[in-house]
Symmetry: C2
């Protein structure tokens, strides 16, 4: 039962594409991540995923469109929808998704993180 300051939590890590858990409620996780460059195309079979930009700009590439998100904007990727997050400069994001959500969804590679740190 402590409040969470997003900036303070973001200052605790620097690695890109490495989400950290900062809150849990109703079986959902609140995560923070720093992203830069292009991630991998993937989808989550059973989880809708919310991306909220805390600072910076990101592109959320979908197969039929690219959604550009600025600070204070969010987008919900429905389950099953392929997506690829891309950030041309470092961008800080908040994710809200079921605790079961794996960062690389249906694919497994060197960026897959099955265990996330809580900070």
């Amino acid at each position: 039962m402590n409040k969470v300051n997003l900036s303070e939590k973001l200052a605790l890590f620097s690695e890109h594409w490495h989400p950290h858990i900062v809150g849990e409620l109703n079986g959902q996780h609140v995560k923070l991540a720093k992203i830069k460059g292009a991630f991998d195309w993937h989808h989550h079979a059973a989880e809708d995923e919310l991306f909220l930009v805390v600072s910076g700009t990101m592109d959320l590439e979908l197969r039929d469109q690219t959604v550009t998100l600025e600070e204070g904007e969010f987008f919900i990727v429905p389950r099953g929808v392929e997506h690829r997050p891309v950030a041309h400069e470092e961008c800080h994001i908040l994710l809200f998704e079921p605790a079961s959500t794996r960062n690389t969804g249906n694919i497994t590679n060197e960026r897959t993180r099955d265990q996330l740190d809580r900070i």
Copy 2:
């Protein structure tokens, strides 16, 4: 499948203590609200509730402590825990909570809103 700009959505309403739904995922709602003054003490029997301050300052009064939240800070009130949001000046907040969550929880009064608008 549209992005949501928090500031643009907040500009669409002005009434205090009237949450509006701006997103839905995994059975949860993302809501925005403008608050000012003191709300009513209440709890949610089966829902954890996240308060994130988008702008301004709010106090989240609990029976044993008061948590002051500034912009960019959030707090999760666990199910069953009595709380009272208070804002001395108008404050804009984002709520994450199950779609079943009623704004006044276990109490019913003139502020109770069983149907919320989606904007």
